[in-house]
């Protein structure tokens, strides 16, 4: 990357900068003339001589002459404005392009950092650099050349105008500039240094804040909050000192400038006035000079601002670029460029290490001398004590780290010389962290297959034109023009055709690693758009019918209470019973029902409003009694209370007032609060005995009223339950069950899932359910999955691309035993006849591998079959004994 910001600017925008300069240069003569005109108007057009005058060779009267000149002046103002607009717009566009390029370059470099860098540099430092710190640089880079030249040009033009008009006044106006030019940069330099410190301090601050977030558990567990507060306060204090110092100095510079600017008019009035009184100067000339001088202060200020900006920008650029140039960066050609042919990894290939060493820096040298080789048709286990270098050997074997001594090669070609794609497309790596994206399961699986755009996105001509235009603009900023919306998936690598076959393949791989049951469960909870899946709705309805027929069969009590338009469902909430449908959007959401005018009118008509308020009061009293002395943050509250801990005191007040005044005596808002409570009641779950048979009957009447009277405007806010229709808003499971699981049945959950499974299989929609599961969002870093599920998913991603070599690095340490065995089996089966390098957390897991390599203290100390080594009495046998 260019060492200085000017280097960067010239390298990437010289032609545009020159164009802007040329435009600027052309604008000066126009500017000069626009200063000339007012003088002619005052001195000539308004002169005492009333005779005819000549303009551009045309003779005219005084008044016509005046208006003609004014029109010329207006025209010049417009032309000047047009120049200014075009120059500014051009600069803005250039600046934005340069900013885009800079950000892209920085990010692109970030992706080429060698891995150890990320042990030293925190996210909190890197991210603000790319996002915020470079932001002002964009504006500056647009201005880099044109701004100083333009402003300086204006100054020179105006200065020249003044000197030509009246040399003495001109000299007086310009006299103080040399002093300012000398003094201001001197003062500025210190400000610049302070600004540099400020940037560093803020960066470290953001890193510390990031660290506080990532270690928040320890902060709470160790009562370390105040220690951290003190640390941050201390840092903020440091930043405050610097900022205050900067402000003081900045305002001093400003003061000095202002003072000097005010000093010049003093010369004008005194010297100019003297000359006029002496008759040596016309008033017109003084007015013109004064006007010109007033115009000088703007470019001068701009020039000073530019000077400050460039000092800032230079530092920022320096500091950012330094951070983005760590030693050992992956060569651009190896990562970015698309190689014409990749060296093939075949079962006959061998990866060899001879006296390979790997040092992260001068102190940390995890691998000192490793010598072994792996044929890409064998399964090699790497074992050893932790911290002995085996993990780094895993990184070396996956080409995620490069040897710093000795040799590492693929069939004689140094690994470091291979393009990243050679391993990235033909090998797979599973490390201790699953490296999941905040996206769906499907996206996470496919990430391993997305290396370059393979099929253009299917777009209508208009959208395609838009895309092409964007690509052109991207190239102008040195960004990649690869279309993100194109299909990047290498289906060939996965061995499946796009579409249904690929989905089957993904499900297959997930099944192999033992995620199929999870996928099925997640899928049942998922929402599928029936429009996008032809025939799905019908088959789900078949499954619903199949389930229903089982429920109706005589025998054990059904674990599900189906929705029935004419019956109160005692396992559903009162709200669900009233709506008999799923709310869409906020209008009929359970929290808003009590305030909804239509709902209230329905309840009123059914004679329920008062009774429900009364029940609300009872619920409030019970809750107040039960939860009165429970700590507000307690889980019991969140799980069981109808009332938020924050609202409890309010309900206590309402309950006391109601005892005194009766419910009708309460405020409307208080009654609304009470009415909101019963909507959550589920008779079978809460067992409060508040919803008796009479009330149920009246609620059923209200249900009918609700449906009949629902205003047109609210139709879109609720999707009614219908035994013969698919509810698009509901999950697959809710669609199949079409009812609520009965509370309080022993083994109810197990029986429901068995019933569901039968119904799903009978209707033949297991595949669709799994597909819905693929849409499950895994959360940030896979946080919505368990540790074991995350690792399984990482294995699935690796297996999906059918790699020629799979490197597994301590990936099953946090995984449950049964799952680990399943993963071993899955990899060993899928990778039959292909290469596996598996860095194991425990030596006894190496049984069944074709070879075992033992690494201790950064050296390979043993290499052989399990049978040979375990009986040999060497390091491996010792490790086995110790474990």
């Amino acid at each position: 990357m260019e060492k200085t910001i000017y280097g960067f600017v010239f390298r990437h925008s010289l032609p545009q900068q020159i164009f802007l300069l040329a435009l600027t240069a052309v604008s000066f003569p126009v500017l000069y003339v626009s200063y000339e005109i007012p003088k002619i108007i005052i001195n000539d057009a308004l002169g005492d001589d009333a005779g005819a005058r000549t303009l551009f060779g045309v003779e005219m009267e005084q008044l016509t002459y005046l208006f003609a000149l004014c029109l010329v002046f207006l025209a010049l103002v417009l032309v000047n404005g047009a120049f200014k607009f075009n120059i500014n717009a051009g600069k803005g566009r250039l600046g934005e392009r340069m900013l885009r390029r800079l950000r892209y370059d920085l990010y692109s470099r970030l992706l080429r950092f060698p891995l150890p860098v990320f042990k030293r540099v925190g996210q909190g430092e890197i991210i603000p650099m790319v996002t915020q710190e470079v932001e002002p640089l964009g504006g500056f880079m647009g201005d880099a050349l044109a701004q100083p030249v333009y402003q300086l040009g204006i100054l020179v033009t105006i200065g020249a105008f003044m000197l030509i008009q009246e040399p003495v006044l001109g000299l007086a106006a310009l006299a103080l500039y040399p002093f300012q030019m000398y003094a201001i940069p001197k003062l500025q330099r210190r400000v610049t240094q302070l600004a540099k410190q400020r940037v560093q301090h803020v960066r470290r601050l953001s890193d510390r804040i990031g660290e506080s977030i990532s270690t928040i558990e320890a902060v709470h567990a160790d009562d370390g909050a105040n220690y951290l507060r003190a640390d941050i306060a201390n840092r903020l204090g440091g930043i405050y000192d610097i900022r205050y110092e900067i402000f003081r100095r900045k305002f001093f510079i400003k003061f000095l400038n202002n003072f000097l600017a005010q000093l010049t008019p003093f010369f004008f009035y005194s010297i100019g006035g003297y000359l006029i009184i002496q008759g040596q100067l016309s008033i017109g000339a003084l007015v013109a000079v004064l006007a010109a001088y007033k115009d000088m202060s703007a470019p001068w200020k701009e020039l000073l601002a530019y000077y400050q900006q460039q000092a800032d920008a230079r530092i920022k650029y320096d500091q950012v670029v330094q951070q983005f140039d760590p030693p050992g960066m992956i060569e651009e050609a190896l990562q970015v460029d698309e190689a014409e042919t990749l060296p093939a990894l075949t079962p006959a290939s061998r990866i060899g290490f001879e006296n390979a060493a790997y040092a992260e820096d001068d102190i940390s040298i995890p691998v000192r001398s490793a010598t072994f080789s792996v044929g890409l048709d064998e399964h090699v286990a790497i074992v050893g004590p932790s911290g002995g270098g085996k993990e780094e050997i895993g990184l070396l074997a996956a080409r995620l780290a490069t040897v710093t001594g000795g040799r590492a090669h693929l069939d004689g070609t140094a690994l470091a010389d291979l393009p990243q794609a050679a391993f990235g497309r033909q090998a797979a790596y599973v490390g201790p962290h699953a490296n999941l994206f905040n996206a769906s399961l499907r996206e996470n699986l496919l990430f391993g297959l997305r290396h370059r755009p393979l099929r253009p996105a299917d777009l209508d001509p208009e959208a395609a034109a838009r895309r092409d235009a964007r690509a052109v603009e991207a190239r102008r900023s040195g960004n990649t023009d690869a279309d993100f919306a194109a299909d990047w998936v290498d289906y060939g690598a996965a061995g499946a055709a796009p579409g249904a076959e690929m989905v089957r393949r993904m499900v297959e791989v997930l099944a192999a690693v033992g995620l199929d049951e999870d996928l099925y469960t997640l899928g049942l909870r998922g929402v599928l758009d029936p429009a996008a899946h032809a025939g799905l709705a019908e088959r789900v309805l078949e499954a619903r019918a199949a389930l229903r027929s089982r429920l109706d069969a005589p025998g054990a009590a059904a674990p599900i209470e189906p929705f029935d338009a004419d019956a109160y469902n005692v396992n559903a909430t009162l709200a669900e019973n009233l709506l008999f449908g799923a709310p869409i959007g906020p209008a009929f959401a359970v929290g808003n029902l009590a305030g909804h005018p239509f709902v209230r009118s329905v309840l009123e008509e059914a004679g329920l409003l008062d009774r429900l308020e009364g029940i609300g009061l009872q619920v409030a009293k019970i809750m107040v009694e039960l939860f009165a002395d429970i700590d507000p943050g307690h889980e019991l509250f969140q799980q069981f209370s109808f009332i938020d801990a924050d609202d409890l005191p309010e309900f206590r007040t309402i309950a006391t007032r109601a005892d005194r005044l009766g419910v009708p005596g309460l405020e409307a808002e208080e009654r609304r609060r009470l009415l909101g409570l019963p909507f959550l009641l589920i008779p079978e779950r809460h067992r409060l005995g508040l919803i008796d048979d009479a009330l149920r009957a009246d609620l059923l009447a209200a249900r009918r009223l609700f449906r009949e009277r629902l205003p047109e405007a609210d139709r879109a806010s609720v999707e009614f339950f219908d035994a013969d229709r698919y509810t698009a808003r509901a999950s697959l499971q809710d669609n199949i069950l079409f009812g609520r699981v009965r509370h309080g049945q022993a083994h109810g959950a197990a029986r429901v899932s068995a019933l569901l499974a039968d119904a799903v299989d009978e209707a033949g929609i297991r595949q669709a359910v799994m597909e819905a599961g693929l849409a499950y969002e895994v959360g940030i870093g896979g946080s919505r999955l368990t540790q074991t599920q995350r690792q399984k998913l990482a294995f699935a991603r690796a297996l999906l691309k059918r790699p020629a070599l799979m490197v597994v690095n301590m990936a099953t340490a946090g995984v449950e035993r049964v799952a680990r065995e399943m993963l071993f089996l899955a990899v060993r089966t899928a990778m039959e006849g292909r290469g596996v390098v598996w860095v194991l957390e425990a030596p006894e897991l190496a049984e069944g591998f074709s070879r075992v390599v033992v690494v201790e203290d950064g050296r390979t100390v043993e290499d052989g079959t399990w049978e040979a080594l375990s009986g040999a009495g060497g390091p491996f046998a010792r490790l086995l004994r110790q474990s």
């Binding site: 054990a556 009590a557 889980e635 069981f640 508040l690 022993a746």
Partner: protein, 152 residues
């Protein structure tokens, strides 16, 4: 109402006898009321326990696996508690409980139980007292058994 009935059942159990009514109401409210069919397994010997049950209605038998097959050692009915040891410490169930007729029970999960104890230390004291009494009884039984053996 149903909740009060459950509170009464809880109060009849020595472990909960001295605990305030409002606490018992909370315990009842936050517990699940579970119905078992006849011949349902409530707990199985050897399983890891995650809940205790308080019988509200119906009967069940306690079976212990022996080399000769399951041996019926006790019968349980209204207000009896099942599996309380398992919610205090992590031990496998020491016996199997199977319903002999339809049964309704209050299910107190281990998690919930601990949260309540955490919230109301007084409950912990009561439970300690009850356990100490049981230990005392068991120790006495043991002493007598030893004496009998020595005499025998």
């Amino acid at each position: 109402m149903a909740l009060n009935e459950e509170v009464e059942a809880l109060r009849a159990i020595p472990l909960f006898q001295r605990i305030e009514a409002s606490r018992l109401r909370l315990l009842a409210f936050t517990s699940e009321r579970v119905r078992f069919e006849p011949d349902d397994l409530v707990v199985r010997q050897g399983d890891i326990g995650d809940a205790a049950y308080i019988v509200l209605e119906g009967r069940a038998e306690v079976l212990v696996d022996t080399p000769q097959g399951p041996l019926r050692v006790a019968e349980l009915g209204r207000n009896d508690i099942i599996g309380e040891i398992a919610i205090l410490i992590d031990v496998p169930r020491t016996a199997t409980v199977r319903t002999t007729e339809a049964m309704t029970a209050l299910r107190i999960s281990k998690e919930l139980f601990f949260r309540l104890v955490e919230e109301f230390p007084q409950m912990a004291v009561e439970i300690m007292r009850e356990l100490a009494q049981r230990l005392d009884r068991t120790t006495n039984d043991l002493r007598e058994a030893r004496a009998q053996l020595a005499a025998g």
